[in-house]
C-alpha cells in the first residue's frame, strides 16, 4: 500500500524584492510504500531540506501535490495542520530540538499532552518505548544533563510515541559520534522491521546504507534511486558510494 505519494513537486523561492528566483525543487515525484525505509541523499543545497519541509507541511510547494494516505497535504487548512502533524507525522532532527525547559519524559509527552491525552495513558505508552530506547533511567533528567545519543533517542521516542504514519528524520546522525550513530541506525532499522515507515534525509553514506531504498537529489531534481534488494549493509554502502561519485563527477544518472 502506498502511504506517501509525491507528485510533480516544485518549489520556487523568490527574492524579497521579486528579483532572482531560485528553483529549489523541480518536478519531483516518488512513492513510499507502507513499511518502507527510504533515505534521501544529496549535497548541501540540493533541495533535501526543502523537500522534507514540504513533506512535514512546514512549507508549501509552488506546484505539485503530496498525499499522505490519500490526504492531500498541500490542501490542509492552516488551522488543522498542527493537529495533523501531531497525529500523522513524527520528527527527528539533527540537533534534537528538545526543549531545555522540560525533562526528557516531558519532552516525550509533549505531543501527547498537546493532543489532550491523560497522564495514565501517556505513562503506559511511554514505558515500553523508553525501555527499548534505553533511556528509562534518564527520563527525569534534563536535555543538558544527558549525552547526545540519549538526547537523540529521547527525540526518537517523542517522534514515535504518537504512533505516526510516517517518521521523518532530518540528518538524525549529524550531531552524533560514530558509536551513537550506529546505535541510532540500528534503532531505526528495528523500528522499520516492526512496520514503521521511515523517510530520512541524510548526508551520511553509512546512515543511508541501512535504508531499504536511497533516493538521490541533485539541484532540486530526482537524480537516481537504488534499492537494497537482497544486499547487505556493506554492499549497500558500496552502491551508495558509487552513486555519489557519479553524482559528484556530474554524470547523468536516470535509469
Amino acid at each position: 500500500m502506498t502511504i506517501l505519494k509525491v507528485e510533480n513537486l516544485g518549489k520556487i523561492y523568490t527574492g524579497r524584492f521579486g528579483g532572482n528566483q531560485v528553483h529549489a525543487l523541480t518536478n519531483v515525484s516518488f512513492d513510499v510504500e507502507q513499511g518502507e525505509y527510504v533515505a534521501i541523499m544529496g549535497e548541501s543545497g540540493s533541495g533535501k531540506t526543502t523537500l522534507l519541509n514540504i513533506l512535514a507541511a512546514f512549507d508549501r510547494p509552488t506546484s505539485g501535490q503530496v498525499f499522505l494516505q490519500e490526504r492531500d497535504l498541500t490542501a490542509i487548512r492552516e488551522g488543522e495542520l498542527a493537529a495533523f502533524r501531531r497525529e500523522s507525522l513524527g520528527f527527528v532532527f539533527q540537533d534534537f530540538n528538545l526543549l531545555d525547559t522540560f525533562s526528557l519524559r516531558d519532552n516525550i509527552f509533549l505531543p501527547l499532552v498537546l493532543g489532550g491525552m491523560g497522564y495514565v495513558e501517556m505513562a503506559q505508552r511511554l514505558q515500553p518505548i523508553a525501555q527499548r530506547m534505553g533511556i528509562t533511567d534518564v527520563l527525569t533528567k534534563y536535555p543538558y544533563e544527558v549525552s547526545g545519543g540519549q538526547k537523540q533517542r529521547a527525540a526518537v521516542a517523542r517522534a514515535v510515541i504518537t504512533r505516526p504514519k510516517l517518521l521523518l528524520a532530518d540528518e538524525p546522525t549529524g550531531a552524533l559520534d560514530s558509536k551513537s550513530s550506529d546505535a541510532l541506525m540500528d534503532l531505526f532499522a528495528d523500528l522499520n522491521r516492526e512496520g514503521q515507515t521511515i523517510l530520512m534525509v541524510t548526508h551520511s553514506t553509512k546512515a543511508a546504507s541501512h535504508a531499504g531504498r536511497v533516493i538521490f537529489i541533485k539541484d532540486g531534481e530526482l537524480f537516481h534511486q537504488i534499492y537494497r534488494g537482497g544486499a547487505t549493509n556493506e554492499q549497500m554502502y558500496q552502491k551508495i558510494a558509487d552513486t555519489l561519485t557519479l553524482l559528484a563527477t556530474g554524470g547523468s544518472g536516470h535509469d
Binding site: R86, E87, D100, D106, L110
Partner: protein, 670 residues
C-alpha cells in the same frame, strides 16, 4: 596592531550592538541629566532668593543623594545585562586571537566612549531641562521666574566625578568577566543559566513571612509617631520579602503545580508551568526590581501629589481663619481689634474664646498631665485643649447642654471609645463625641493626638487651670501672671471676600500696632498672630518641593522600570525564538504557540505591576497615617490620589509593554 585598530573595533562594537547599547546610553544620558538637574537646583542662586528656599534645598539635597545612589545601582545593573549578552562575542574575539589584555583594552575604549557620550549628552540635556524645571518650581511656588541661565562648574565637576566613577566600575566588572572566564565558557555563556532552578522552600517561606510581617505592620500600626519608625521597618521587610518571593517563592509554587500530574499534563498548563519556571529563574531579580521601583513610584507620586493637591485643606486646618491670634489675652486682642478697625478692615466671622492647653499622656480611661517627656512614652503623648460650653456653643453655633461632670469630646489622630474620661483627678462622663470644634489650628501641626474637651462652665475651666498650675508647681507658674496660669484667649477673623491683599494689610496693621504697644513695658501683651496668606508661602515651599521631588524621582524610577522591561523583552525574545520553532515542529499550531508565549510574557510583565498594586494597597493605611502628620486628614482624598497614580502608572506601563512587545515579536518571528 596599531592603536587605531582598537579604537575602530570599539566604535564598531558600539554601533553593531546599538539595539542593546542604545537604550543603555539613553538611560545613562537621562540619569546624568537628572543628577545634574537636581545638583544644580541644590546650589541655584535663583532658587535661593525665593521664599521658602531653605526648606526646598534641604529636600533637594536628600533627593541628590537618592538619585546618586540610584545611578550607581541602576547603571551597573543594566550594564550587567549587556555584558552577559556579549560574552559570546568576547569569546569569539578571544578565539580569533585577541588576547585578554587586548580585549580589556577594547572594553575599556568602549566604556570610555559610552561614558563620554552619556556624560556630554547628559550635561547638555540636563542644562536645558534645568532651566525648564526651575521655571516649573518657580511656578509652583508662585514666585517670579528667576532670570538668566545658571551653570555651576562645581555641579559639572560633581556630576563628571560620579559618573566617571560609575563607568570605571562598569569597566572593571567587564574585564573581570573576561579575565575570569575561559574562551569556551565565554562562547557558551549564553546557554549557561538554563539549568532547572531548584526549589528553595526555606527562602520561599522566609519571603512569605517577611512580606506578611511587613503587611501586618503596615495595617496594624495605629499610632502615628510609631508609624514613622515602623514604616521603614515595613519597607525593608516588604523589599526583602518581594525579592525572596519572586526568586524562591515563584519556583517553589511552580514545582508544586508540576507535582500535581493531573494539573500539569494539560495542554495549557504543561507549557505554561515549565515556561514560567524557566522565565522566573532568569527574570526574578529583574521583576522584583521592577516591582519595587513601581511601588516606590506609586507611593511617592501618590503621596506627594496628595500633599500638593491637599495643601489648601491642610492650610485651612492649620490656619482656620484669615487672621489668627492665639495664646493671647484680652488686652492684646482689644489692641488688635482696634488696629484692624483703624485700618478700615471689616472683620468677619469673628471667633473668640478662652482655652487651656497642656501636654498629657493618654492612659487607659483618661489623660495624665505631664511636663516630663521621655522617649519611651512618646507614643502615648497627647495634647489637651479645654474650653467651656458657653464659648463652644457661641463659636460653633451649637446648642448643647451639659450636666456637671459631663463633657463633650473630640479626638484627633487617635480613637477613644471610653464612656468616661479622667483628667487631673476628676472623672467626667463623655456625653458625646462632637464633630465641629472651635477654630484652633496650632495643635494640628503636632504629631501627637489631640483631645478637645468641652467642660460645662467657666468655673470648671478655671478649676482645671488652677489644677494644672498645681501640677506644675509654684515655680513654673511664676512665669505666668498671677491668677492666669494657663488660660489663653484665641481670636480669629476673616477679611471681606478672603481677599489676599486685605489680609496682608491687616497683617501690616497688626504688626505695626503690636510693635508700638510693646514699647510700653508695662503693657500686658502676649500671643502670636498668623495670617493665612502669609503662611501659605511656607506651605508652598515645603509641599511644592516635596511634590517636585516626588515627580522627579517618580520619573526617574519609571524610566528605570521601562528600561528593565525593554532589556527583558529583548533577552526573552532571543530565547523564545528557538522554543517557538520547536513547539511548532512537534505539533503546536502557530497561533497556539503565539498565544502561549503571549500569555506567559503577559503574566511575567504584569506580575510586578499587580504586586506593586498590592504593596501600595497594604502601604495605604500606614501612609495615610503619615499623611495625617502633614495635616491631611481626609482618607478619601488620599485614596483618590493613590488610585489616580496607579491608573496613570498602569496605563504608562501598558503602553511601554505594548511598544516593547513589538520588538519582542519581531525577534521571535525573525
Amino acid at each position: 596592531m596599531t592603536k587605531g585598530f582598537y579604537a575602530r573595533l570599539a566604535r564598531q562594537n558600539l554601533r553593531k550592538n546599538s539595539r542593546a547599547y542604545g537604550p543603555f546610553i539613553l538611560a545613562a544620558v537621562l540619569t546624568v541629566a537628572m543628577f545634574y538637574i537636581i545638583s544644580s537646583l541644590s546650589v541655584n542662586p535663583g532658587l535661593q532668593s525665593m521664599t521658602g528656599a531653605t526648606t526646598i534645598q534641604v529636600v533637594i539635597r536628600y533627593g541628590m543623594v537618592v538619585v546618586g545612589l540610584f545611578a550607581v545601582i541602576f547603571l551597573f545593573y543594566t550594564n550587567s545585562f549587556l555584558i552577559k549578552r556579549r560574552k559570546r562575542e568576547f569569546g569569539i574575539f578571544n578565539v580569533l586571537g585577541l588576547e585578554k589584555r587586548h580585549l580589556a583594552r577594547v572594553i575599556g575604549l568602549e566604556t570610555l566612549y559610552a561614558g563620554l557620550i552619556s556624560l556630554a549628552l547628559g550635561l547638555v540635556v540636563g542644562m536645558a531641562l534645568d532651566k525648564t524645571l526651575l521655571l516649573v518650581v518657580a511656578k509652583i511656588l508662585s514666585a517670579p521666574p528667576p532670570m538668566g541661565f545658571f551653570v555651576s562648574p562645581w555641579v559639572i565637576a560633581v556630576t563628571a566625578a560620579l559618573f566617571g566613577g560609575i563607568f570605571l566600575l562598569i569597566f572593571l566588572y567587564g574585564i573581570r568577566q573576561v579575565y575570569v572566564a575561559r574562551p569556551v565558557e565565554l562562547l557558551q555563556a549564553e546557554h549557561a543559566g538554563e539549568r532547572e532552578p531548584k526549589a528553595k522552600w526555606l527562602l520561599a517561606l522566609m519571603g512569605a513571612a517577611c512580606l506578611g510581617a511587613g503587611y501586618y505592620i503596615a495595617v496594624t500600626t495605629t499610632d502615628v509617631i510609631q508609624a514613622i519608625f515602623l514604616f521603614f521597618v515595613a519597607v525593608v521587610l516588604v523589599i526583602v520579602g518581594t525579592y525572596l518571593l519572586f526568586t524562591a517563592g515563584s519556583v517553589a509554587l511552580l514545582k508544586l503545580l508540576r507535582k500535581n500530574k493531573r494539573y500539569y499534563y494539560k495542554t495549557r498548563h504543561f507549557t505554561a508551568v515549565s515556561g514560567m519556571m524557566y522565565r522566573m529563574k532568569q527574570n526574578a531579580v529583574g521583576l522584583a526590581n521592577i516591582c519595587i521601583l513601581s511601588t516606590m513610584v506609586l507611593v511617592m507620586v501618590s503621596g506627594t501629589s496628595c500633599l500638593m493637591l491637599g495643601m489648601e485643606s491642610a492650610l485651612h486646618e492649620r490656619y482656620p481663619c484669615d487672621v489668627n491670634i492665639s495664646r493671647s489675652n484680652a488686652a492684646t486682642i482689644e489692641m488688635v481689634k482696634r488696629a484692624v478697625a483703624d485700618a478700615g478692615i471689616q472683620a468677619e466671622n469673628e471667633t473668640e474664646y478662652d482655652y487651656l492647653t497642656s501636654a498629657a499622656y493618654s492612659v487607659p480611661g483618661g489623660l495624665e498631665v505631664t511636663r516630663d517627656y521621655t522617649l519611651d512614652t512618646e507614643s502615648s503623648l497627647a495634647d489637651v485643649m479645654v474650653i467651656c460650653l458657653e464659648d463652644y456653643n457661641r463659636c460653633t453655633g451649637q446648642d448643647y447642654t451639659l450636666a456637671p461632670d459631663e463633657i463633650l469630646l473630640k479626638v484627633e489622630r487617635t480613637v477613644y471609645d471610653g464612656d468616661t474620661l479622667t483628667l487631673l483627678g476628676r472623672t467626667y462622663t463623655v456625653k458625646e463625641q462632637v464633630e465641629p470644634m472651635v477654630k484652633y489650628g496650632n495643635l494640628t501641626a503636632n504629631l501627637t493626638s489631640t483631645w478637645y474637651i468641652v467642660v460645662p462652665d467657666r468655673d470648671e475651666l478655671e478649676r482645671i487651670d488652677a489644677a494644672l498650675a498645681g501640677e506644675e508647681g509654684v515655680k513654673a507658674s511664676e512665669q505666668y501672671q498671677a491668677g492666669r496660669y494657663y488660660m489663653s484667649r484665641f481670636y480669629g477673623f476673616d477679611v471681606p471676600g478672603h481677599d489676599d491683599e486685605t489680609a496682608l494689610n491687616a497683617r501690616l496693621a497688626i504688626r505695626e500696632a503690636w510693635g508700638r504697644a510693646s514699647e510700653d513695658e508695662s503693657a500686658d501683651l502676649s500671643g502670636t498672630y498668623e495670617i493665612r496668606v502669609w503662611e501659605r508661602q511656607d506651605f508652598l515651599s515645603l509641599y511644592g518641593s516635596l511634590f517636585c521631588l516626588g515627580m522627579f524621582l517618580g520619573l526617574l524610577f519609571t524610566m528605570a522600570a521601562i528600561l528593565i522591561i525593554y532589556y527583558k523583552q529583548m533577552s526573552e525574545g532571543r530565547d523564545d525564538r528557538e522554543r517557538f520553532q520547536i513547539m511548532q515542529q512537534v505539533g503546536m499550531s502557530r497561533a497556539e504557540v503565539k498565544r502561549t508565549i503571549h500569555e506567559q510574557v503577559l503574566i511575567v510583565f504584569f506580575l510586578p505591576l499587580v504586586t506593586a498594586g498590592v504593596h501600595t494597597g497594604f502601604a495605604f493605611p500606614i501612609i495615610n497615617r503619615v499623611m495625617v502628620l502633614f495635616n491631611l486628614m481626609s482618607t478619601d482624598f488620599y485614596l483618590w490620589c493613590v488610585l489616580g497614580s496607579f491608573g496613570v502608572f498602569a496605563v504608562l506601563y501598558a503602553v511601554v509593554y505594548a511598544l516593547t512587545a513589538r520588538t519582542y515579536y519581531r525577534l521571535v518571528s525573525m
